[in-house]
Symmetry: C2
């Protein structure tokens, strides 16, 4: 195979770091542009993060929400996909530094490197309360949740058994709410007939939120509805309490200690270190403060998009860290690059908020379209159809639809696998 | 939930160790018997090992070939499923020893603990040439295979690139043949459009076998056909050569050194240590020599089945280590336990060989039914239908059928995921 023919005028090199929603969208929208693109990611797959909690709760298989990046780019000969970890940017010499010593020269750089979960200065909590950002995070959480039930089945001491059957989720944003609702479903509907010594109905799912309400990004009445719905399926919702300690024994919040063997962190994020790489201004969560055209201050040839940046919308509110926002930014950057190549001046980015969606569990969801607000089963159907629509490719849509059909018709979750070692290793 | 009511006369305790094909079949066939069963496995899932190579080659997802054991037993209140690792048997006191210090008393014990791959006294080769027995083995192999292509894409030195694109499979039994054929398919059909700097058609797949032919368990002409078919899709088949060294640099066989970065071991198995636990006679591969009724010599209350035992068929040939043989033995033990409870004497086990099947790659297979021998596309269709039939549950049948449809219609493999770390970790 000879190297495929590129566009005749592809001497302009675009390097995109990160193939999440922002980076991928930018690469896709640069189709036809007279540029040579290198798309770098330290993973070989694009991940549909909005459904990651479903992998963590055994509802979906890993391959149902992840696609090999280079496969998505197979029909784009001008794009080279690189499986590599970027360690920094040498802006003076216009090149990206790869951790193995390689460098990638660029004319335009797009940083779309996302964020990790963060512990507000308590990184020592991570082993006890893992977060959820990657496929490994999800299979690790799945293992912990399933092993807790297995250990409870073999535990004769009532206190230790209760701690094994207590699941604490810290943070009541969409991920926390969706995890709590799905773990409750698992305990209430899927697992009961499978155990002999424990009644999984008695599992406690506790959602702790430092703020005054769940789903703070939604309208007040939808938050209240979500809280009521969670409580109706057995989730204990604790508001206005910050967690002050996480350990193998459980969590401390306020003056209370809650014994629990499974803690999940869904409370905060920290941006990737692009602001440090560029010595650029950042907010407290490390998010780079980009200019209105999404370029980095003092670096007009470097764009940054998605969860790793902070920018305000027209009303002065921060653009939320959600997939549609990252995609809009990726699309805007692609248009800006093409405009510049035509000699035009790019426009400032304008965020358009389509709406907020969250699943609550047991066929309920909330949707906040601004003017229109939906809740309950109808919202759950729209939520499901929207998510299947946004998956890439017919194959995964079909596969996820079948998985959900089985869950909702038969309470049967296909991916109840404890991997990463035998019972000896995971205990 | 109160403990489900058991059979009125369930004072006879059966412990089954291992929920592979033999142990699972025994548990299923004891339905209605007046016994209380404990089914112990160190994994939480039953694994359909005949398709494990398809997980290793990115064709199927892990959850498509594995089922939570306790879910399979959900309608059997007399069965308790235990997620635990057995460390031995205290036959004098009739109890099974669990690694955490627990013990399980039994009246009848069924050992169905299988086998691992073995290196004929060269365990130091394992890190360089991993084998394929568990889901983790499969995702590890998948990672190695996919990372080799990724590293080749970034490698500029021609020799190192060639070593990265050389895949050596040691052992040409069904697993070795199926792996070789599928890796060739991956390199020839699935991957070419995705890479820019390498031509994956140039990948070498080398199958090395110490014996005189591939698929030694099949008739001579089917072996010859399989070899020819493998060669026609680009697999290099080397017969009559034993591998004498495995390292990060490649393999040595005869007086040749073959530089290769990906080695896969499919050459031998070693039985689980049940013979050692019971100080019972075993063959060179550690397989326990059971009596004709599948009991352990001097232990009439202990049965052993599947890959961990050796027993001859009516013609004096060893019963092969394949799923149907283990299932027949599990079924026979269930019947024997029930016969004994009725006061009857169990019959000796008679193995009935239904046939041997192996996929070769590119829509070809060989089937040896003894009198009838099939090859080519027709055999491949029968192979596929038979495997879908033997999967458990409509959901997984549907799911695997869709996965195969996509592979064969579009050369698209859904599970091309490099997991277990980012590019930094896996290089």
């Amino acid at each position: 195979m000879t190297r495929p023919a590129l566009h005749p005028n592809t001497n302009h090199r675009v390097v995109i770091v990160g193939a999440g929603f922002g980076g991928l969208e930018c690469a896709l929208r640069l189709k036809g542009a007279p540029v040579a693109i290198t798309l770098v990611d330290r993973r070989n797959h694009h991940l549909f993060q909005p459904l990651l909690y479903q992998v963590a709760t055994a509802s979906l298989a890993t391959s149902e929400i992840a696609w090999p990046i280079r496969h998505l780019m197979r029909d784009r000969p001008e794009i080279t996909t690189l499986f590599a970890t970027v360690s920094g940017v040498d802006a003076a010499n216009k090149r990206v530094l790869i951790d193995d010593g390689d460098t990638l020269p660029y004319d335009t750089l797009v940083l779309a490197t996302g964020a990790r979960h963060a512990y507000f200065g308590h990184d020592e909590w991570e082993p006890f309360a893992p977060g959820l950002k990657t496929l490994e995070d999800a299979t690790t959480l799945r293992r912990r949740i399933l092993v807790a039930f297995e250990r409870a089945e073999r535990e004769s001491d009532p206190e230790r058994r209760a701690a094994l059957l207590t699941f604490v989720i810290v943070g009541a944003g969409p991920t926390g709410v969706e995890l709590a609702g799905t773990i409750a479903e698992l305990a209430q509907d899927t697992l009961p007939p499978d155990f002999r010594n424990i009644d999984t109905h008695q599992a406690r799912v506790v959602l702790i939120e430092a703020g005054p309400r769940v789903l703070a990004g939604f309208a007040d009445d939808l938050s209240a509805y979500a809280k009521k719905s969670l409580e109706s399926i057995g989730v204990e919702v604790i508001l206005g309490e910050a967690v002050t300690e996480c350990s193998t024994e459980g969590v401390v919040y306020g003056d209370k200690h809650l014994p629990a063997k499974t803690l999940i962190w869904a409370a905060g994020v920290r941006a990737s270190p692009v602001a440090e790489w560029l010595h650029a201004p950042a907010d407290r969560a490390g998010r780079l403060q980009v200019l209105p055209d999404l370029t980095v201050p003092d670096h007009p040839d470097i764009f940054a998009v998605g969860d790793t940046v902070t920018i305000a919308d027209a009303a002065g509110n921060p653009v939320p860290g959600i997939a549609p926002a990252a995609k809009q930014q990726g699309r805007h950057v692609a248009a800006s690059i093409m405009a510049r190549l035509r000699g035009e001046t790019p426009k400032p980015f304008r965020y358009s908020h389509a709406g907020s969606l969250a699943q609550i569990g047991k066929r309920k969801a909330v949707i906040d379209f601004g003017a229109i607000k939906l809740r309950g089963t109808i919202a759950w159907w729209i939520w499901g159809i929207a998510h299947i629509y946004f998956l890439i490719g017919l194959r995964n849509r079909l596969s996820v639809a079948i998985s959900w059909l089985w869950i909702h018709a038969r309470d049967q979750r296909a991916a109840r696998l404890i991997t990463q070692g035998s019972s000896k290793v995971v205990r």
